[in-house]
């Protein structure tokens, strides 16, 4: 090993604590990068492979009833490579182990062979025997949650008819990678899942002999989806088609796409934070090393090393630190990715989901690490390279201080000498003080961002449940029914109050824009299911016109006062102009809302409702559940209280873990910045502190100068961190916002208090650790040294 390299290693050992801070901060950033980019790649690859292998549908369409004879016509539509017609519906399940009825999505299997589109992946058991119509496959998450498997039986109420089903296998399908009940935020596998059954059994249950109500299509290579959709719509219109749609409206794929989008956001947002701080740490530690190495730099140059060799010598230490950060970041990133992958397996049901980061991901991570360290080192290294040998062998001039601007100078006269030292040093080196304050501010900001998620989620759930969905249970009828059916519901045990609703699948048109969505009919003075306006407060619907969710209004480019067209996708296919009379801000989904009576009139079905939201007496829950399980008229029951509980638990369990990890990262950042800042301040002030000690100042009095400077910078950083954190949190919420979720920024004072207190605590802790060096100061050695 060359002597210079040996020197380099010893220099690194001397600055090992600084180095450790750089490595840890870099590792935090790069591990998030490796995890999110790798996870994104893994999810994308796994999804693509699964879709290809199981022939995931590109287009789907629901109809009321279409005869089997049109299958050939459908198959001949342009762009259709493969097609499967099927029967689909919802059923209430009576599972003995679970008190509440569960809801199942039922999907038929072909009469013979495997589905040509949306094929299944059989996890265990066997395929149902067409000769046994009671045999069914169950989706994996559902089976696990209900504790049922091959050989078990389930009682299902299908389209008003009660049947006994026998589970013969557990399966997954590419169209149900993510399964959540319509209108729910998170999956509730014990409440909602998928059952696949023989075509004949479902045809009988839904009176669809010789007919189907759903088509799934796989497009030919290079097919134009719009043309295929148009052709299918044309063929299926007479059969009550609700309009063909692509993967962007298939729930499972849409959730996955959202997840990929969030991973991309994460891959950029957090690492940038850490890389900036790492660059800052490299800068301050290397500047310090080079300041103490002036004489050595002069010697190297006097021996004949050129500027490039000197620059390279010091740059290497930054690059070695980057290497350390990249190695640790890569290893932690892979571990982190593995943990996230197993977390995902609880939500996303692939045959196999493994975290595999591509070589390119690591190359990018390493490059980013080197770039950050290089950027941090650049200025100091350049300064080292440019030092003239004759100058470096002279002692450096004492730092030149000057009087401060008038008012500050006047203020400083009111301070004692030690406080004046602190103030003048901060003002003398504004860039360095600013960088330290910015580093601390970034740590505060990151904590605010990390902790704003629970606050946002809490607010989202509060608004969604406590304001918007106050019902305990929502019951849906198989078909819209007369208002008097409500009386039957009201008579169910434990029902305190029943509030009718109507939902209608429609196509909205405004100018050239067209969106398929749901209109929800809400009765005047609704107490349970209410429409949410700005700031999460319930609003009353105008008696006329339609109120659009903000995201829907944006898609339609419609504002209140505009006239839009509404076309029913089923039944009479009513087509009417309606005026936009309001904008709503629901947390979830992008529906439209109308006064219940107005909607029923618009659909020319006065007095017919889709179901009821119920306020319940909790004491009579069991009686109610037993009664609902026995009544065949309901297509589904959604237990909102349970959904809320499940959603909160899901969030606490899983998102909570992520937030804990990010909070730990923020602590590393705060600690790293604080320690480096304190260490460098100590190194710079060593002589002044020794002078104070020799003059007779006690350790505590001398330490005040050290801790005071760091504390002053930290206090300056606190408001800056709060402003930065607020901006970043707002921006991140904006990035995470999608058609499906609104992420409102919420001011949560406790997050701010925690972020500031925690970071300042880290800073003071680091300062006190470094302060111990004041006790060990070699007063004579320091003061007799030239500098």
């Amino acid at each position: 090993m060359r002597s210079l390299d040996r020197k380099l290693l010893r220099d690194l050992w001397r600055m090992r604590l600084h180095g450790l801070a750089v490595i840890l901060v870099l590792a935090c950033g790069l591990s998030v990068f490796v995890m999110s980019v790798g996870m994104r790649g893994s999810l994308e690859r796994t999804r693509a492979a699964y879709y290809a292998e199981r022939r995931m549908a590109d287009v789907a369409v629901s109809v009321v009833r279409a005869p089997d004879r049109i299958v050939r016509t459908l198959a001949n539509a342009p762009g259709v490579a493969a097609l499967e017609t099927r029967i689909s519906g919802f059923a209430l399940l009576d599972v003995t182990k679970i008190e509440e009825p569960a809801t199942a999505r039922l999907v038929s299997l072909p009469r013979a062979g495997r589905p040509r589109v949306n094929d299944l992946f059989l996890r265990s058991g066997r395929w149902p025997d067409p000769a046994h119509p009671e045999e069914a496959l169950i989706s994996e998450a559902f089976a696990t949650a209900l504790g049922v498997g091959p050989g078990d039986s389930l009682a299902a109420t299908m389209h008003g008819r009660r049947e006994a089903l026998r589970i013969v296998g557990v399966a997954n399908a590419p169209e149900f990678i993510f399964v959540s009940a319509p209108g729910e935020l998170f999956p509730q596998p014990e409440r909602f899942g998928v059952l696949w059954m023989g075509r004949e059994a479902l045809a009988r249950a839904y009176d669809l002999d010789g007919a189907f109500n759903e088509v799934v299509v796989r497009l030919a290579h290079n097919a134009d989806q719009r043309k295929t959709v148009a052709a299918l719509d044309k063929i299926l219109r007479p059969y009550g088609s609700s309009g063909a749609y692509g993967r962007d409206r298939m729930m499972s794929d849409r959730y996955l796409t959202e997840e990929l989008h969030q991973l991309s956001t994460m891959a950029i947002f957090l690492p940038v934070f850490f890389l900036l701080v790492a660059a800052f740490l490299v800068n301050i530690s290397l500047s310090r090393v080079i300041a103490t190495e002036r004489a050595n730099i002069g010697l190297l140059k006097a021996f004949g090393y050129d500027d490039g060799a000197v620059a390279w010598h010091y740059a290497k230490s930054a690059l070695l630190l980057a290497c350390g950060g990249a190695v640790v970041g890569s290893v932690v990133g892979v571990w982190f990715g593995g943990s996230v992958a197993s977390l995902y397996q609880q939500y996303y049901f692939f045959p196999k989901l493994e975290f595999v980061a591509s070589p390119l991901t690591f190359v990018a991570a390493w490059a980013a690490g080197f770039l950050a360290a290089g950027a941090g080192a650049a200025l100091s290294v350049r300064r080292a390279a440019r030092l003239a040998p004759a100058v470096t062998l002279q002692p450096p001039k004492p730092p030149a201080f000057a009087r401060m601007p008038g008012p500050i100078e006047a203020f400083s006269h009111g301070l004692d000498a030690k406080s004046r030292i602190i103030m003048r040093r901060i003002l003398r080196y504004p860039r360095r003080a600013g960088a330290t304050a910015l580093g601390i501010a970034l740590a505060i900001a990151l904590l605010i961002v990390a902790r704003s998620f629970p606050a946002v989620m809490d607010s989202l759930l509060d608004v969604h449940f406590a304001q918007g969905n106050r019902q305990s249970v929502t019951l849906s009828f198989v078909e819209p029914r007369e208002m008097r059916a409500l009386h039957d519901v009201e008579r169910l045990p434990g029902v305190i109050y029943a509030e009718p609703f109507r939902t209608e699948d429609v196509i909205f048109r405004h100018g050239r824009r067209q969106v398929q969505e749901v209109i929800v009919g809400v009765p005047e003075g609704a107490r349970l299911n209410r429409v949410i306006g700005r700031e999460g407060k319930a609003i009353a619907l105008p008696a006329v016109g339609v109120t659009l969710a903000r995201t829907l209004a944006a898609k339609l480019s419609a504002v209140p006062g505009d006239e839009i067209e509404v076309e029913q996708t089923r039944g009479r296919r009513v087509r009417m102009p309606v005026r936009v009379t309001g904008i709503a801000d629901p947390m979830l989904g992008g529906s439209a809302y109308m006064d219940l009576s107005a909607l029923m009139r618009l659909m020319r079905e006065p007095g017919r409702v889709s179901g009821a939201h119920l306020a319940m007496d909790p004491a009579r829950h069991s009686e109610f559940n037993a009664a609902v399980k026995a009544i065949p008229a309901f297509a589904g029951a959604s237990f909102v209280t349970l959904a809320e509980r499940a959603t909160r638990k899901n969030f606490d369990d899983h998102v909570g873990l992520m937030i804990a990890i990010y909070s730990a990262f923020a602590a590393v950042m705060a600690g790293g910045v604080a320690f480096s800042a304190a260490r460098v301040t100590m190194a710079e002030q060593e002589r002044d502190l020794a002078t104070l000690r020799v003059l007779g100042f006690t350790r505590r009095e001398a330490s005040y100068v050290l801790i005071g400077e760091i504390a002053a910078l930290a206090l300056l950083a606190a408001p800056l961190g709060c402003v930065l954190g607020t901006g970043l949190a707002m921006w991140l919420m904006q990035l995470f916002q999608t058609d499906m979720y609104a992420f409102p920024w919420v001011f949560d004072p406790s997050s701010y208090a925690f972020a500031v207190a925690f970071t300042l605590g880290c800073v003071l802790f680091a300062a006190f650790i470094v302060r111990r060096e004041v006790d060990r100061l070699d007063m004579v050695g320091v003061l007799k040294a030239r500098d």
Binding site: L695, R699, R786
Partner: protein, 238 residues
């Protein structure tokens, strides 16, 4: 040797060892010395002879390994860190070769620094006037010459009216002319304040300033000379 007045310092069998075992360095190997109140004593010897080590122990910056050292009957050996800090705070003024001013404070503020901890200090103006820098009070160290900086250091050392003034090569970094100005200030002030003054030097000519000259060699006092006539700084040349 008998001091003409009661001793400020009494040193008996003082030793100082750095490190241990084979790498031990014996900086002081048994020093016996008495220093009178108000005396100006010059410690002379080559580098590594132990003179600075003795000065540091006398100033409470370092601890002896063995023996006894007392200032006005108070044992420095028995004092803990806090006691030594208090001792420095009340009794000692230090002057080093490299000035050691706080760069972020003006000359006046550097002197005022000790006023915050001293019992009966001079004003900064008074102290700076004594060293002839009344007109440079509001300058920062970087705006002063080496000699001026050292005179500010002298003013800072004497501002608390210390009983002892300890100077470690105070002119080591200065040219003759500047050094003489600094020494003039030092001698003048030590006479006025009657501070016991110890000056470490390896400059034989500077030794002529003291009442006595203690010669050090290899951690021991090799001999002590008494100057029958103290030279004035203006007579010196190096």
């Amino acid at each position: 040797m008998v001091s003409p007045s009661p001793p400020a310092y009494r040193v008996r069998g003082l030793t100082k060892v750095y490190g241990d075992g084979a790498t031990a360095v014996h900086a002081l190997r048994g020093i016996d010395l008495e220093i009178a109140e108000g005396e100006m004593l010059v410690l002379l010897g080559p580098s590594g002879s132990g003179k600075s080590t003795l000065l540091n122990i006398m100033g409470g910056l370092d601890r002896a390994s063995g023996g006894e050292i007392a200032f006005r009957d108070a044992s420095l050996v028995a004092m803990d860190d806090h006691g030594l800090t208090r001792f420095r705070r009340r009794n000692v003024g230090f002057i080093f070769q490299f000035y050691n001013l706080i760069p972020s404070l003006t000359a006046r503020e550097n002197v005022e620094l000790v006023r915050e901890i001293a019992l009966d200090p001079m004003t900064a103006a008074e102290a700076l006037d004594l060293v002839g820098l009344a007109d440079r009070m509001d300058h920062f160290p970087a705006q002063l010459s080496g000699g001026e900086q050292q005179r500010v250091a002298v003013a800072r050392a004497i501002a608390k009216r210390p009983a002892v003034l300890l100077c470690d090569e105070p002119t080591g970094a200065l040219d003759l002319k500047t050094g003489v100005r600094v020494l003039e200030a030092l001698v003048d002030i030590s006479a006025r304040t009657r501070a016991t003054t110890l000056m470490v030097t390896h400059n034989v000519d500077v030794a002529r300033l003291g009442d006595r000259v203690v010669h050090f060699l290899d951690g021991r006092i090799s001999r002590i000379d008494v100057n029958t006539r103290r030279a004035s700084p203006s007579e010196l040349a190096w």
